[in-house]
């Protein structure tokens, strides 16, 4: 898209979102947290709820057949409860290794910094966990659940950090959100990201999703959007950014969102040497047809899907209709924002009636392909095995 047009659209979406924010304020409940029932009202009836406490839910792959994920299909994943925050009282503080500490209201941000809208992937680190054998501990996300690719409106994190003046020894930026726990002793959810990712032009402080204010459960009124990376990096209900000289030390950095430095045997416990879960490896899913869809013999089947990767580019997507013995290239759309998923299509003419399994396998620009079954890890992160959809060709 042309730069000036992009800027104009971003500004328009941002302005619309800020007007709409006032309407949401009028509906705010007086309690300190939003009930699960209220959150579910904003979601599709077909959304599958994997747990109530904390609330987690997602739609299956065939409900994801959209270039831009509609807000009512975006996955829900909280570590704690969803807070009710007064947008007028809310402040964002920037502190730590900066030349001067800053504090902004939500309404200061679009006035002081360039606003933009970009489409970007968010995916929970545990997305796909239920496919691991043996089962790994945690939310049993569907093989293709726990991700989405909406449009985000906000300002660049880099611009805000530059305004505060980042000191030369800055290494990480920690985001802290205002989500309360069930018990007063609950540790705050704090995650930090390295400076290079914080200063990347696609990393945002966002207040809008799909041109509207963030829904409560998606971080209203402010959140980080670190597209392509595990969802927990994108702190919701953001109120403090702290610039640090090392990764933040806390339970959500040291005990969760880690994978073994070297692969371990399935079922082994976490080894002492670990790395932080950051960018998602290349992944794809078939969004149409739906599982067990029926087709008449003699016709052709259009396979459609989405592919994405946390860093780099999606290079190609292949489809197999013979359990991975042979692969045919799908037509891949290459346009779009850097961290948006890409759509692919493939026409397939079955040779005979019966049950047909469709498999999708994406490759990234560094030559990595999706494996049939990814490395097992104790917390069940980064499932990116081939997506499999079976359909029936009637005689």
């Amino acid at each position: 898209m042309h730069e000036s047009r992009r800027k104009f659209l971003a500004g328009a979406a941002a302005a619309g979102a800020l007007t709409a924010l006032r309407d949401v304020k009028a509906q705010a409940a007086p309690e300190a947290t939003v009930s699960n029932e209220a959150i579910k009202q904003g979601k599709l009836p077909s959304m599958q709820w994997h747990s109530e406490r904390p609330l987690t839910g997602s739609v299956p792959a065939h409900e994801h057949d959209f270039d831009v994920t509609p807000s009512d299909r975006m996955f829900v994943r909280n570590n704690l409860l969803t807070p009710v925050i007064d947008i007028y009282a809310h402040r964002l503080s920037v502190k730590g290794l900066v030349d001067k500490e800053l504090s902004f209201s939500v309404f200061d941000l679009p006035k002081m910094f360039t606003t933009l809208t970009l489409q970007g992937m968010l995916e929970c680190a545990g997305s796909g966990r239920s496919a691991f054998r043996p089962p790994a501990s945690g939310t049993p996300w569907l093989e293709t659940g726990g991700m989405g690719c909406p449009k985000w409106g906000g300002v660049r994190l880099a611009d805000v950090l530059r305004a505060a003046g980042v000191k030369p020894n800055a290494a990480h930026v920690a985001g802290q959100g205002g989500d309360p726990g069930m018990v007063p002793s609950a540790a705050p959810v704090i995650r930090s990201i390295p400076m290079r990712k914080a200063m990347e032009e696609n990393t945002l402080i966002a207040w809008a999703m799909n041109g509207e204010p963030l829904p409560w459960v998606h971080g209203y009124p402010l959140r980080l959007v670190v597209p392509g990376w595990v969802g927990s990096a994108s702190t919701k209900w953001l109120h403090t950014l702290t610039v640090l000289d090392a990764p933040f030390k806390g339970t959500y950095m040291n005990n969760s969102y880690i994978v073994p430095r070297s692969p371990v045997a399935p079922g082994e416990k976490m080894p002492p040497e670990t790395v932080s879960a950051e960018a998602w490896p290349v992944k794809s899913m078939i969004t149409s047809p739906a599982p067990n869809a029926r087709f008449k013999d003699g016709g052709s089947i259009t396979v459609r899907g989405r592919a994405w990767v946390g860093e780099g580019e999606v290079a190609k997507v292949e489809i197999s209709t013979d359990e991975g013995q042979t692969w045919q290239p799908a037509r891949l759309s290459r346009d779009g924002d850097k961290y948006a998923w890409r759509s692919f299509t493939h026409e397939f003419k079955p040779e005979r009636p019966g049950y047909v399994t469709l498999l999708a396998r994406a490759w990234d620009s560094r030559g990595n392909a999706q494996p049939a079954v990814p490395y097992w890890n104790p917390l069940g992160y980064f499932w990116n095995g081939w997506h499999r959809v079976g359909v029936v060709v009637e005689a």
Partner: protein, 192 residues
């Protein structure tokens, strides 16, 4: 009028049904330490996380350390009981033994303490400090001077509720006998 009544009745039936489902789901295999494990774990999450993915003893130990760091209020002694329980009944490397009585259920011979632990009250309430729900002291103070206090509190314990102390719902306890309910109410109201 009749329609309205039917609707109300249907609502009550549906509520009872969903609460039944809720209660059934929130149990672990009965055995030494099962009550304590249930009470501590379900403060923050459903018990399906435990039932779905049995782990090795080493993984359970890591898991419990993680939960403690996340803020679970449990002592080291309690953690040891829970680790033994989980790695006996939810161990991926060996089948679970047959269910047995929870011989470690806290409370000793004190009838009130027995009720508090057997019904899971102690998972969310303590005498003087707020855990998930209000402390028993806070509850007693709320009802101080209220002539209908015993009636109101009995209803609350039996039917559950939400909204007075926050949005975390208190589950109902329909199985409590009238005598046990009275005993609990009397004890709670005396904790001012």
């Amino acid at each position: 009028m009749l329609l309205l009544k039917l609707r109300e009745l249907l609502g009550v039936v549906l509520l009872a049904f969903s609460l039944e489902v809720f209660c059934q789901e929130e149990r672990l295999i009965s055995g030494p330490g099962s009550t304590l494990t249930e009470n501590k774990c379900k403060i923050c999450h459903e018990l399906q996380h435990i039932r779905r993915a049995p782990l090795s003893r080493g993984e359970w130990a890591d898991n419990l350390r993680n939960m403690k760091e996340r803020g679970t209020p449990m002592s080291d002694a309690e953690m040891a009981v829970i680790l033994d329980y989980l790695s006996t009944y939810y161990n991926r490397d060996k089948p679970a033994p047959a269910p047995s009585a929870d011989t470690l259920a806290a409370g000793g011979d004190d009838p009130v303490q027995k009720l508090l632990h057997a019904n899971g009250c102690a998972g969310c309430h303590a005498v003087s400090q707020r855990v998930v729900g209000p402390s028993f002291g806070e509850v007693a103070q709320k009802y101080a001077g209220d002539a209908l206090a015993a009636e109101k509190l009995a209803t609350k314990i039996r039917d559950g509720g939400q909204g007075n102390w926050g949005q975390v719902p208190m589950p109902p306890n329909p199985g409590l006998s009238e005598a046990d309910l009275r005993r609990l109410v009397g004890w709670v109201l005396s904790q001012k």
